[in-house]
């Protein structure tokens, strides 16, 4: 029975978690964290089981309410969805382990609603990944966004202002997506992705179809902080609490990127995307601009969280470049970078959160000589930084490698040049920080005397992520061959 219902199981577990945390937490605040951890543990097991099942048996279809697809809503879980779900689950459970101390210190009276809203946000993200229905995706889009707005509004004094700006722009993005779905619905009469895709060829060239794809690109671009629409991101990430940033930054923008990939390659007609309206070219050039601008802005920052936020802009733009190139290796690079960037950013944001907790500051100047006081934390930082730059044994190298391969396949030498240049720029800001962390302070520079190593429950997730960066680097050929190459859109699979 569990096996037949496996695709819905992650959603059910998260829903029960979202209900159980406030139910038991209202009476006893201390219950909130163990319950969350337990339910997220079940979530990881469910996600892993689903991944295993998809690996063994191929694409899973699940009919909600028992109605067949164009009538009812269907979950379609292919390798790509299961892969994304596994990333969400892993990040969630690691951040939850870390959160026990951090949330209690940063917002002692808000533990219960914090975990409740966190479950709701994860529910929205998982639903977006699993669903095979365009309107259902919008509903989960809004569920995850509402959770995100609330989580981002707690933290620094200025957080509500940046969260409100995010709310206005996020709603704009979601509404654009809704309008795009509306045009698709009017033209095809269906909301199921596979059904819409099968009706698509006869509609190519229709102005409403062209507008719908433009609106969807705009809406999803806003949510994934694609270059000219990234203005909400740095403020929102740098003023939110460290736990919230550590869970939102790795997954939120990536899931929007996943939706963009899903819609461009599985719903719309390839000719439409490429020939009639050069959507892939637009994404490619916006992505390249984002890579450059994000890296340059990151160098100029004095605040560590803000620097990481701008680096997020440039890393998400890598994924956009991969989607825009739209050939086999570029898409593999985009998907691999989703995994790599989630692990790297989660690790780095957890470390900045830990430093804020021990020193009370997120400014880069506060990091002087901390390497001696918090050796384990900053060993992990060094690994993550090397991975961000793309130094070979770490996983960050491989996604850039495949991206360059894809760019060479497509004959886009500009992309090769910009990817390499941006790697160098990333090197500038991370090596500058590493130098500050591990060298002796200059005379007169302020040193944080009180800083001590983080407690084990916070150190463990950071070290696990740092180890994961190395392990993923070693096993990346397995991931690419057995997961990502099989997860490609049918038109780009090997042998087609």
């Amino acid at each position: 029975m569990i096996e037949a219902n496996l695709p819905i199981l992650p959603i059910v577990v998260l829903l029960l978690g979202a209900l159980m945390v406030p139910t038991f937490g209202m009476r006893n605040r201390a219950a909130a964290h163990p319950i969350s951890l337990g339910m997220l543990g079940l979530f990881v097991i469910a996600a892993f089981g689903l991944f295993q099942k998809v690996m063994d048996d191929g694409i899973q279809h699940y009919r909600l309410g028992g109605w067949e697809p164009p009538v009812g809503i269907e979950f379609v879980v292919d390798l790509l969805s299961a892969f994304m779900l596994l990333i969400i689950a892993a990040i969630a459970v690691l951040v939850c382990v870390y959160a026990r101390v951090a949330v209690r210190k940063e917002m002692p009276t808000k533990e219960v609603p914090f975990y409740g809203v966190m479950f709701i946000m994860l529910l929205g993200l998982s639903g977006m990944v699993l669903t095979g229905d365009l309107f259902n995706l919008y509903v989960f889009f809004e569920v995850s966004s509402l959770g995100g707005y609330a989580l981002m509004a707690v933290g620094h004094r200025k957080a509500p202002v940046s969260a409100f700006r995010y709310l206005i722009l996020g709603t704009l993005g979601a509404s654009f997506y809704l309008l795009g779905v509306g045009y698709l619905y009017v033209l095809t009469g269906s909301l199921n992705m596979a059904d819409v895709a099968s009706l698509m060829p006869e509609l190519v060239g229709n102005p409403a179809l062209l507008l719908s794809i433009t609106l969807m690109l705009g809406g999803l671009g806003l949510k994934m902080a694609l270059f000219p629409m990234h203005l909400w991101l740095p403020d929102a990430y740098s003023y939110a609490s460290s736990t919230a940033t550590a869970i939102i930054a790795p997954v939120m923008t990536k899931v929007s990127a996943y939706v963009l990939l899903r819609i461009l390659f599985f719903v719309y007609d390839q000719n439409l995307v490429h020939d009639i309206l050069p959507i892939d070219g637009v994404i490619l050039w916006l992505g390249l601009a984002g890579v450059t601008v994000g890296s340059i802005m990151a160098i100029a920052q004095k605040d560590a969280k803000r620097m990481l936020a701008y680096s997020s802009v440039s890393q998400v733009a890598y994924i956009a470049v991969g989607i825009g190139l739209a050939n086999r290796w570029a898409l593999v690079a985009a998907m691999l970078h989703v995994l790599n960037h989630a692990a790297m950013k989660c690790c780095l944001f957890l470390i900045t959160g830990g430093v804020f907790q021990q020193t009370g500051s997120t400014r880069i100047s506060a990091y002087t000589s901390l390497g001696r006081k918090m050796p384990w934390t900053f060993a992990a930082f060094a690994v993550a930084a090397l991975s961000m730059v793309g130094v070979p044994p770490t996983n960050g190298f491989f996604s850039k490698w495949y991206l360059v391969l894809g760019a060479i396949d497509a004959g886009q030498w500009v992309v090769v040049a910009i990817v390499i240049a941006s790697g160098l720029l990333t090197g500038v800001y991370f090596f500058r920080m590493i130098a500050r962390i591990f060298t002796n302070p200059e005379a007169g520079a302020p040193v944080q005397e009180g800083a001590r190593e983080l407690p084990l429950s916070q150190l463990a997730p950071i070290l696990v992520l740092a180890m994961a960066l190395l392990v993923l680097g070693l096993f990346n050929s397995w991931i690419v061959n057995n997961v990502l190459l099989q997860a490609l859109p049918p038109a780009l699979q090997l042998g087609s």
Binding site: P22, T109, G116, V139, G147, L151, Y185, L187, G189, T214
Partner: protein
């Protein structure tokens, strides 16, 4: 900046009007939107659920997962207001 946004708004309005030429006319009985799945709903709703209101059958049975999502959205808003506005009180009472 403001002028640019105004220009973009105008362009968007014109584009939407232009896109209107691709969709079937207002009130068209045979538009694709009102033939494909919609007919199935109208013709089977009463038989399937003994409920004359097709919209109710659609939102609560055929597409009930959407409505579950809708309920979760409402719940999310409630929890969000709980997170944002409640919870400072205990500390204030301790201060006082």
């Amino acid at each position: 900046m403001r002028a640019l946004v105004k220009l973009l708004l105008g362009v968007m309005g014109l584009l939407m009007l232009y896109a209107g030429s691709g969709i079937s006319d207002f009130g068209d009985v045979h538009s694709p939107a009102s033939e494909h799945v919609s007919d199935h709903y109208i013709e089977n709703a009463y038989h399937d659920a003994h409920t004359p209101n097709v919209v109710t059958v659609m939102i609560a049975d055929y597409r009930s997962f959407d409505t579950l999502g809708e309920t979760v959205v409402v719940f999310a808003a409630g929890m969000a207001c709980f997170l944002l506005l409640r919870g400072n009180r205990r500390r204030e009472e301790e201060d006082a």
